[in-house]
């Protein structure tokens, strides 16, 4: 009986080793929240993993750094071959756990944000300043076309700096830098809310405080949707620009209300797919780019064909 138990235990503990020996890479994909962006990055990873015959494990760290450490340690103990991860605190707290995993020979690929360390084999991300600039250029063109004679052009911004300050600030700066030098452009109000149900309240308050506002900008989907709906409720004709694209936002761009003018989106599917591709390449010993910036896509209601084309791909 004792021999049987020993053999059974040995078999159980040998299972992972046997499985790994089967020449199939195992890659862990780690995101920090369950939203559309993160979900789509995982879909990008999944598509490459299926194509390449890689075993993909996924986790969500639920915006908790302690859980991030726990998940990374668990995957390291399990002996995965690579980890593709977006960090909660890339500047400091996220480093030790992935460093320990890297020291065990696990390849680390960063996506969405960049770790303040040199050991990840690759980083795949968008540039939030460029995303903001994409919509900023559209706003600048709109201001020149519609407010050419105006002495003062009042702008309001809904950001989400209370949730993710560096990301939100980069998007805001990228937008603002494109329009700030146009004569008369003035930032009259700024509020923060990452979610639509709160952003709509703040945008409505801003419209009340500045009934003559000329333009609004939402730094993420929540701020953008909140701004568009607040403008719609007010009955005013205030143009809105923003960041992010989903089914609802594409609907705003196609709507006859003429409120949302343009929005720039990251390409989360491509970010996830490239992160997985680079993980596999590094495992195969192939060269990978140390840093890849995935460009954003700007859609404007001035280009309805592009909006219609994008609408076919958005869930």
């Amino acid at each position: 009986m004792k021999k049987f138990v020993t053999a059974a235990l040995a078999a159980v503990f040998m299972l992972p080793v046997v499985a790994q020996a089967a020449d199939k890479f195992t890659v862990a994909g780690i995101v920090f929240q369950e939203d559309q962006f993160m979900k789509t990055t995982l879909l990008g990873m999944k598509s490459v993993a299926e194509k390449e015959g890689v075993n993909l494990l996924t986790s969500n760290t639920s915006n908790q750094i302690s859980k991030e450490v726990e998940v990374v340690n668990t995957y390291a103990a399990r002996g995965v071959d690579a980890i593709a991860i977006t960090y909660l605190d890339p500047a400091a707290a996220s480093i030790p756990a992935v460093k320990a995993a890297n020291d065990k020979g696990i390849k680390i690929v960063s996506f969405n944000n960049k770790l303040a360390a040199d050991f990840p084999v690759s980083t795949v991300m968008s540039d939030n300043t460029l995303l903001g600039a994409g919509s900023g250029k559209e706003a600048a063109a709109y201001i020149k076309a519609h407010y050419g004679d105006k002495k003062e052009i009042k702008v309001a911004i809904i950001n989400y700096k209370a949730q993710l300050p560096p990301e939100s600030n980069a998007r805001q700066d990228g937008f603002w830098n494109e329009i700030k030098d146009i004569p008369g452009v003035t930032l009259v109000a700024e509020a923060s809310s990452p979610v639509a149900e709160e952003a709509i309240k703040k945008a409505a308050d801003i419209i009340t405080a500045h009934p003559d506002i000329d333009l609004m900008y939402g730094c993420n989907a929540g701020g953008l949707i909140g701004a568009v709906l607040a403008v719609k409720n007010s009955g005013k004709k205030i143009p809105v620009f923003g960041i992010d694209l989903d089914k609802q936002i594409v609907g705003f761009l196609k709507s006859d209300d003429n409120i949302l003018q343009a929005s720039t989106a990251q390409d989360p599917f491509k970010i996830g797919a490239l992160a997985m591709e680079n993980a596999i390449k590094s495992l195969k010993g192939e060269a990978v780019d140390k840093e890849i910036i995935v460009p954003g896509l700007t859609l404007s209601r001035a280009n309805p064909e592009a909006v219609a084309e994008y609408a076919k791909t958005v869930k």
């Binding site: 559309q36 149900e197 009340t208």
Partner: protein, 341 residues
């Protein structure tokens, strides 16, 4: 939890139901209202657009969605219980309604029938969940904090599972009336908010059910010995907050024109904050629906005023913290004075 006090201000042990009616007007009960009035006057002179009809309608619209749930939470807290699942419930019921509508309209049903069935389903689940929470609290002595903690995770997970993390947008234009429509220039949500306030205020002051909730919150065993159906009260109150959460979820979904699994994060704290500012005790047995009404307006007016004044978001957090602390200190001083006679 040894007191039962419908005034939310007094002291003493569980008293007979007939003796719990409070004096109609007592000046010291209205300190918070006086502070709120002072803030309103200050904002009227300093915040651009504050003293306008449109802005007051904004304030009512903004207060409505959390306020409706806060009235339910008032009863839960009076009972000596808590419900921390309301934010997740808001997301779950909004997503459930959207997914049911989406699935049924795709299958060829009319939007009207689909939405009605979705709404009935949401109310049904909310009521059953509340009854279950009240039942396990009473029969198995499981604290409502624990049960609603489980509901919180289940509802949020359910919302993500239902939608696959993507916003669902199946609604016809008429549905948006519930979130952004107005009657005689007054937002629809404001009517629901005021209606729910009047109903819950009446229940708390003039019905056996309301008095029983105070009695159970003050001392459940004494309440049971005096013939109150404690199990029934607990199940009914926990179901009532579920019903109000569904009402709010319908209006939020209508307002943002989608079922979105990320809505309602930390709403439970906003709702509890409004109750606490309004003088509802987390220890049970004390609190007034009117106090919660003022607390909800207080929060909404403060946030509105700070946005109008373009005050940085980080300072808004600090202001909210000071508000909670200030309100609690006022009630504590009042309670100490009352004890001294």
């Amino acid at each position: 939890m040894t007191t039962s006090d419908t005034t939310g201000k007094g002291k003493g042990s569980f008293a007979p139901l007939a003796a719990t009616r409070r004096p109609f007007f007592k000046l010291s009960d209205f300190v918070l209202e006086a502070i709120l009035l002072a803030i309103i006057l200050l904002l009227a002179f300093t915040a651009p657009g504050f003293a306008t009809w449109d802005n007051w309608m904004n304030i009512l619209r903004n207060a409505a969605m959390t306020g409706i749930i806060a009235f339910g939470m008032t009863f839960v807290l009076i009972l000596g219980e808590i419900d921390i699942s309301v934010g997740s419930g808001l997301a779950f019921f909004g997503c459930l309604l959207a997914v049911v509508t989406d699935s049924m309209t795709t299958a060829g049903w009319s939007a009207e029938i689909s939405i009605v069935i979705g709404v009935v389903l949401c109310f049904g689940i909310a009521i059953l969940a509340g009854m279950f929470t009240g039942w396990v609290r009473h029969v198995l002595a499981v604290p409502t904090f624990i049960t609603t903690l489980a509901w919180m995770a289940a509802f949020r997970g359910g919302a993500y599972l239902l939608t696959g993390s993507f916003p669902v947008t199946p609604y016809p234009d008429w549905f948006f009336f519930f979130g952004s429509g107005a009657i005689f220039g007054i937002p629809f949500q404001a009517f629901v908010f005021l209606l729910v306030f009047i109903i819950t205020w009446f229940i708390s002051r003039y019905t056996v059910f309301g008095k029983s909730a105070y009695a159970v919150g003050g001392n459940a065993e004494s309440a049971r010995l005096s013939g109150i159906n404690v199990l029934g009260i607990r199940m009914a109150v926990m179901s009532m907050i579920g019903v109000f959460t569904v009402l709010s979820a319908i209006m939020v979904s209508s307002q943002i024109q989608a079922g979105n699994p990320t809505v309602g994060v930390t709403w439970e704290f906003t709702v509890i904050t409004a109750c606490v500012i309004g003088g509802v005790s987390l220890m049970g047995g004390k609190g007034r629906v009117w106090g919660t009404f003022v607390g909800v307006l207080f929060l909404s007016i403060m946030l509105n005023g700070m946005t109008l004044l373009n005050i940085d978001e980080y300072w808004q957090y600090v202001a909210r913290a000071l508000l909670i602390l200030g309100a609690v200190l006022i009630y504590q001083v009042q309670a100490m004075n009352a004890r001294r006679g």
